[in-house]
């Protein structure tokens, strides 16, 4: 199976990865969440080739994750900003950062810390159930077929992870 076909699968994770599951794309988004907006700034920060970067940015714009905004005429210059859809990806970045800080930090610890403006503390983000508000981990959750896939069968929970 070609990677270009993955986006057509009936799995929202597979489709999501067809948009952002690229080697460099999540690093582009990391920088976008740190405030980077210009082509040259992404390129300098990431060390990605200009060709790849142009391609990645174009795809993210096509998928509505970034917007290409003209910030100057004569000569025309553009910057890339997160859309609302893009801002919704913060959770993915936050979880990657949280896992990396815990399991992959080098000597001296992580180079960036994230502060919760509301309470003023350096925070690690956790998962919370939107229905009851409790914090959850993998072991508190169960997956099952949804909607039409469940019709006509007894809904049964998938097996436990690990």
């Amino acid at each position: 199976m070609r990677w270009s076909d993955v986006g057509t699968l009936d799995c929202t994770i597979a489709r999501t990865l067809s948009v952002i599951g690229d080697r460099w794309t999540l690093l582009v988004l990391r920088d976008a969440f740190l405030g980077t907006r210009r082509f040259e700034a992404f390129q300098a920060s990431l060390g990605i080739t200009r060709h790849r970067l142009a391609d990645r940015l174009r795809k993210l714009v096509q998928h509505g994750v970034l917007r290409r905004v003209r910030y100057q005429d004569a000569p025309a210059r553009f910057e890339y900003r997160l859309t609302e859809k893009g801002i919704d990806l913060y959770g993915v970045i936050a979880m990657l950062a949280g896992w990396g800080d815990k399991h992959m930090a080098g000597r001296g610890g992580p180079p960036v810390e994230r502060v919760h403006r509301g309470c003023g503390h350096v925070a690690t983000l956790q998962l919370a159930c939107d229905r009851c508000g409790d914090t959850v981990t993998a072991r508190d959750m169960t997956a099952r077929p949804a909607g039409r896939l469940r019709t006509g069968r007894r809904a049964r929970a998938a097996e436990e992870p690990a």
Copy 2:
């Protein structure tokens, strides 16, 4: 810059992506969280080539995300199970699923739903601050240089996203 060098960078997100930022790896993990453990099952579910799958699983084992467990002798047969470190990646998968369900669902909605055992509801997971417990989004958070990088400078918040 070669992708193989990304893991040496002083950024925990970059290092994390050097482990799981591969085209197929997050789909392998999605299946692992749904209970898949065997080589043939991953291969059938993903449509990845056997060669790639063997390589991906080997790398995940090397990085301590999966464990290769012998479940039968004569002939020796192995299965792959999430380690604690691997289970900690649930947040990444959950956020990808949440984003995909919201922004990429096809006709008929997402094929899998996730149930919070604690309250019994189909839940979408949100981010919560581990210090104050409030749910947060990107706009509630600020990033700044941490630890040694911050020493000798006035700590200043990075710019707002978007």
